[in-house]
């Protein structure tokens, strides 16, 4: 029974494909999987948008959407219909082809990333040898779409937003990559399926998740920060800081193209949350050994949704960074820490897991963190923002 619930989607797929002749089965199963992915994540997107608007509303002492349907839960449907029926305005001087292609490139690149994410036991579309690299390759392609959108609009605000976004995404991609390299070093594999399997063991009922090791914790924290910046979420939402540059690189988009950008941004969030979950939070494995009877896909999507809730919480809490703070934080604080984290991961690998190793590694990282944060504060480079006129 437990097995069946865990593998229900896999069994369903096999049953569905079984009706076809053998030569077509492989192709059909791929097509079905792709269709399911393209159906599931936009649904989650609608859910997340509602959650965000409601949650932010509560954090800011207001109701949030509450008009459409009971408690406003049909708001995403209304938004969807609105964006579909709106006029699609293209600026007169815009580069029509590039302007049209930009949202498409973004959405395609973002959805491609899901091809390698293991969303449950045996629930990955393709298990490649280098699936981690594939995910990053697809993530890199989104930067280009941002540039295309910003440049083709022929609008100063769009271009500024695109430049900000690209500079930020490139800087934080380095951190994202290097913090995941620690995981690769320990697992010895670039395959996401193997990375999850390496974490799916239990000692005293506790899982072997990488986040519970010192280097994993540091990597996880850096990964979360970098993923926030990579998806242009608050407090790193300078590229679309509405009080400064309207909406950044998609200022000149309206109607369905705007909706595509919106979708791409949120689905990108799911992608990176799922990726981080796979790397550090054990993917689809259960948090306690007594809970392994719960189907694996519930754990995966639960963790991803938790991650999204965290993003929403951050957005309701933190003010936006300044450009120089953003860059200084990336290059002078986070990058050295990721490099140190790599060394600590190597130390962990060669000293062998144990209590002493744990304490030594933790001490190294903690001391480095405290020292760097202090020097940063002293120089006034990374510290809290000071208001010259507002006080």
């Amino acid at each position: 029974m437990v097995e069946k619930a865990d593998q229900i989607f896999v069994t369903l797929l096999h049953w569905l494909v079984g009706f076809l002749p053998t030569g077509w089965q492989h192709l059909a199963s791929v097509v079905v999987c792709v269709v399911v992915i393209i159906a599931v994540y936009p649904t989650l997107f609608a859910l997340a948008v509602l959650l965000e608007r409601k949650g932010l509303g509560r954090m800011q002492n207001r109701y949030g959407p509450n008009r459409v349907g009971p408690f406003g839960i049909l708001q995403p449907v209304a938004d969807g219909i609105k964006s579909l029926t709106k006029e699609d305005v293209v600026p007169f001087r815009a580069d029509a082809l590039v302007h049209f292609m930009a949202p498409l490139v973004l959405v395609v690149a973002v959805f491609m990333g899901f091809a390698v994410l293991p969303m449950g036991r045996n629930m990955e579309l393709v298990d490649m040898d280098a699936s981690l690299l594939f995910f990053f390759a697809m993530g890199a392609s989104t930067e280009l779409s941002v540039f295309m959108a910003g440049w083709s609009s022929r609008n100063k605000y769009s271009l500024l937003g695109a430049m900000r976004a690209i500079a930020q995404m490139i800087s934080y991609e380095v951190i994202l990559l290097l913090s995941s390299v620690a995981v690769v070093m320990i697992t010895g594999s670039l395959s996401l399926v193997k990375i999850v399997e390496a974490q799916n063991h239990y000692t005293w009922g506790l899982p072997h998740w990488f986040v519970l090791t010192p280097w994993g914790l540091m990597g996880f924290v850096l990964f979360v920060i970098a993923s926030t910046a990579e998806t242009n979420r608050s407090p790193f939402d300078l590229p679309e800081g509405e009080s400064e540059i309207i909406a950044g690189y998609f200022t000149e988009y309206s109607g369905f193209k705007f909706a595509l950008f919106f979708l791409g941004e949120y689905v990108g969030m799911f992608g990176i949350a799922g990726f981080g979950t796979t790397l550090f939070l054990g993917g689809w494995s259960a948090p306690l050994s007594v809970l392994t009877w719960v189907p694996s896909w519930i754990w995966f999507f639960g963790k991803v949704l938790l991650w999204i809730c965290f993003f929403i919480w951050l957005r309701g809490t933190l003010p936006r960074l300044r450009q120089d703070q953003l860059m200084n934080f990336a290059w002078k604080f986070a990058l050295p820490l990721t490099l140190l984290n790599l060394i600590v991961a190597a130390l962990w690998h060669f000293m062998g897991a144990g209590v002493v190793t744990w304490l030594v590694c933790f001490a190294i990282l903690a001391i480095a963190y405290v020292l760097m944060a202090r020097t940063g504060l002293k120089r006034g480079k990374i510290g809290p923002r000071s208001y010259r006129y507002a006080e």
Partner: protein
């Protein structure tokens, strides 16, 4: 020759041609990105998965973005009054055609000596890692030094000389 090869060849060559012929520099940069993507796909088709993804990551994620930044920082995206080709374009074209003629002639002449279809080799990430840490460890270290010096060099070269400082 499979149909996949022809599709990728058209993408690659079309992108490269467009990059070299288009007037707008940003269009050229986007076209060359298409060409890079076509090449990455071709690497994948050749069974070199790791190289294909690296190509994607490095060329589309880094080189294309660098080019675009350089175009915007040098205001080259604005239309210039003069033509985009240099006055000696005919000579350049003749040289390129001659190079292609020689290369093509030698390839076609040695076609019989070239190996035919073989079984697809595998290059797993494990093998690549072992090769990098074993026989290729010296080149790896040298590339690391090269990349570090290139990073520092690029920063120094492109850095603004602060006026009035010191």
């Amino acid at each position: 020759m499979s149909i996949v090869f022809w599709i990728f060849a058209v993408i690659t060559l079309g992108g490269a041609l467009a990059a070299m012929l288009l007037r707008s520099l940003v269009h050229s940069a986007l076209a060359v990105t298409l060409s890079f993507a076509g090449l990455a796909l071709m690497f994948l088709e050749l069974g070199a998965q790791f190289a294909g993804f690296t190509q994607f990551l490095v060329y589309i994620g880094a080189v294309a973005i660098l080019v675009v930044f350089a175009i915007l920082l040098t205001r080259s995206s604005e239309e210039t009054g003069s033509g985009v080709f240099s006055p000696t374009w005919l000579r350049g074209l003749v040289i390129a055609a001659a190079v292609f003629a020689v290369l093509g002639w030698s390839i076609l002449n040695s076609a019989a000596a070239l190996p035919g279809t073989t079984a697809e080799p595998v290059a797993s990430v494990q093998q690549i890692g072992q090769a990098l840490m074993g026989p290729y460890v010296l080149p790896l270290e040298i590339v690391a030094v090269l990349l570090t010096s290139a990073l520092i060099g690029a920063v120094i070269v492109a850095m603004h000389e602060k006026e009035g400082a010191e």
